[in-house]
């Protein structure tokens, strides 16, 4: 192991005065808000500086740190698709200080965003395959970016199936988009709520997500499964998918460990030697099985 004998700062390529402040967020304006479910909101954010917005790029699956000025930063995925230019969207649940402050914001208010961070769903590698998305509760937002990305290049893929469940009808997010997906002829949407969570006029399924996937039995040949949800849903869905014939490197998920920096420095998001903010958040089941279950 080589060790630098003298100090580092003088060894870095440029002087500190020429280095960017990696903690400085973009200033964003809230262009639209949508109340998705009790305590769950979606923001559409536009860059205040148009030139910054024009330079900005992200890939599907990446995340960022969102600032409520006066309260702090919180980590969410980018829930919109990179195929939709000029804005990003995030969906969050009101939980703590920052998300409560964000929830108080209205159209026209400023928030901060820094990112994009992390790796991406390799949709280029999925060309020619069928896709099944399995999501639960507030975990549809990270998959929404991928789903729209794939729908916007629909001819790349075979069948597209989305299975989405929540505890109750009220807790389903993106209700308008669910209706839109339901109407589309080029994809299949199955929405389910946990037993007891149905409303009198509920027309979807009643049952837990893993059971619904099992009953649906999507073909696994030349197919990729993308799973995101509460830990228990993921835990019970993975064996079902494997039973259906999905191999471990054709099953993807995205992890959401607590993060502060998003840059691999603050020290908390690692699961074993893998830094979720740098190496993830997207992992195949095959990769996940090489890591300790610190997520």
């Amino acid at each position: 192991m080589m060790e630098k004998v003298t100090m580092l700062a003088s060894d870095t390529a440029s002087p500190a005065s020429a280095q960017a402040n990696v903690f400085k967020p973009y200033l964003m304006r809230i262009a639209r808000t949508t109340d998705e479910a009790p305590g769950v909101r979606t923001f559409r954010l536009e860059f205040v500086d148009g030139a910054e917005g024009a330079r900005f790029n992200f890939r599907t699956g990446q995340f960022g740190l969102y600032s409520a000025f006066g309260a702090g930063e919180s980590t969410f995925c980018i829930a919109s698709s990179p195929t939709r230019k000029g804005y990003i969207e995030c969906t969050f649940r009101e939980m703590g200080r920052v998300t409560s402050a964000l929830a108080d914001c209205e159209v026209g208010d400023f928030v901060g965003f820094r990112g994009p961070y992390g790796n991406t769903f390799p949709i280029d590698e999925w060309k020619g395959k069928s896709l099944i998305f399995v999501a639960g509760g507030i975990a549809l937002p990270p998959l929404r970016s991928v789903i729209w990305n794939c729908l916007d290049r629909r001819d790349w893929f075979g069948d597209i199936i989305v299975v989405y469940g929540a505890r109750t009808v009220k807790d389903l997010v993106y209700k308008q988009e669910l209706e839109e997906w339901d109407r589309r002829q080029d994809m299949k949407l199955v929405v389910t709520v946990d037993p007891g969570g149905e409303s009198p006029d509920w027309k979807g399924k009643v049952g837990f997500v893993p059971h619904v996937v099992e009953a649906l039995a999507p073909p696994s040949e030349e197919a990729v499964a993308v799973v995101c949800g509460p830990p228990i849903m993921i835990k019970l869905s993975l064996p079902v998918l494997e039973k259906l014939g999905f191999v471990k490197d054709a099953i993807y998920t995205t992890l959401e460990n607590r993060m502060k920096c998003g840059l691999g420095k603050c020290g908390r998001c690692n699961t074993g030697k893998s830094y979720v903010c740098k190496d993830g958040p997207v992992y195949t089941l095959k990769e996940l099985e090489t890591l300790p279950s610190e997520y």
Partner: protein, 336 residues
């Protein structure tokens, strides 16, 4: 490395005066409230030299406990974001132990991983490290187990060797070290091969490599909960550690203005990894102790190419329940 100069005990005060006259602050070990800590010293007389280690770490000179990384102004709905000015005060860290000086190498590697950390780098650019080779050690020391030693040069700009007659041999290790000599050139005489006080013998029953090799297979072992039974999760070990760089980011604001602060944090805290849902990937103190050891001896060597430990033993000395880190590491290294 052979010394170029020597400096007499009687010349230290003049050197300190020259450093101060150059507009630099001097930080080093000093007596305060019944213990030796690292803080600002204004004269050589204030420099504490009899201790093995001060209780606190000099890392705060380049990586402060709390530092401003952003500020913003709010006026009604309007927000303006400001970059805080770069820290400019030149600093001389005087009288560090070589292990602590070496800690800046690991600290800088973590903070500059992937993207440069302009705040840390700005401070380091203006910091000169003068360390004093160890002629004493105690049972907490284990620098020789982690690739260091009582006169290891890494991280130092000048290295002083205590002489039997008083004063020091001076080894110049960098341009910054040379610039410090140039502040009081008449106080540094050519080295004359004067007799040095013998270096401390620092003994350890393990080598870091043994730990690094053991760790992957010990991940699920009960050794972590056993060793951490006493751990209070107070985080003192992280706060005094020369290489611990984990941090939190928090805002402080009123209705008109706010600052975003980077603050020291610790993997020993439950809140460190707690999810908003209440789920915690590192729920027990054993899991958190495992993270500390794995991070420093396995993840960092593999991902960053440096060990996260310099063997200074400050963690053991600071621990309120006397966890002996050297003993625990020995146990891990010798595990079969």
């Amino acid at each position: 490395m052979s010394p170029e100069y020597q400096i007499g005990e009687g010349s230290l005060e003049a050197l300190f005066a020259a450093i101060t006259a150059d507009g630099r602050r001097i930080w080093g070990p000093r007596a305060a409230a019944g213990c030796i800590e690292i803080g600002e010293i204004r004269s050589a007389g204030e420099l504490a030299r009899d201790q093995v280690h001060p209780i606190s770490s000099a890392k705060a000179a380049a990586f402060p406990r709390v530092e401003k990384i952003l500020s913003y102004r709010m006026d009604g709905k309007d927000v303006a974001i400001d970059d805080p000015p770069l820290p400019a005060r030149p600093t001389v860290l005087f009288g560090l132990r070589p292990c602590e000086a070496r800690g800046f190498c690991a600290l800088g590697t973590i903070l500059n991983w992937g993207t440069p950390d302009r705040f840390f780098n700005a401070r380091m650019e203006r910091t000169t490290v003068v360390s004093i080779a160890c002629t004493r050690s105690d049972e907490a020391c284990f620098c020789t187990a982690v690739g260091g030693g009582p006169d290891h040069p890494a991280g130092s700009d000048l290295l002083l060797h205590p002489l039997a007659q008083g004063g020091y041999d001076v080894v110049v290790l960098s341009d910054k070290g040379r610039a410090l000599v140039a502040l009081a050139p008449d106080r540094f005489e050519p080295a004359r091969g004067a007799a040095r006080i013998a270096l401390a013998k620092i003994e350890a029953e393990f080598q870091a490599q043994e730990i690094t090799e053991q760790l992957p297979r010990l991940f699920d072992h009960p050794i972590w909960s056993e060793q951490s039974l006493r751990c209070l999760g107070c985080g003192a070990c992280a706060y005094v550690c020369p290489t611990c760089a984990c941090f939190d980011i928090q805002d402080e604001a009123d209705a008109r203005r706010g600052v975003r602060l980077r603050c020291w944090d610790s993997c020993a805290f439950r809140l460190f990894t707690l999810h908003a849902s209440g789920h915690n990937p590192r729920e027990t103190q054993g899991q958190r102790w495992r993270q500390r050891v794995q991070h420093k001896f396995s993840y960092m060597p593999e991902r960053l190419g440096v060990l996260g430990c310099v063997g200074c033993g400050k963690c053991s000395r600071a621990c309120p329940v006397d966890m002996d880190f050297k003993e625990h590491l020995t146990e891990i290294a010798k595990f079969s």
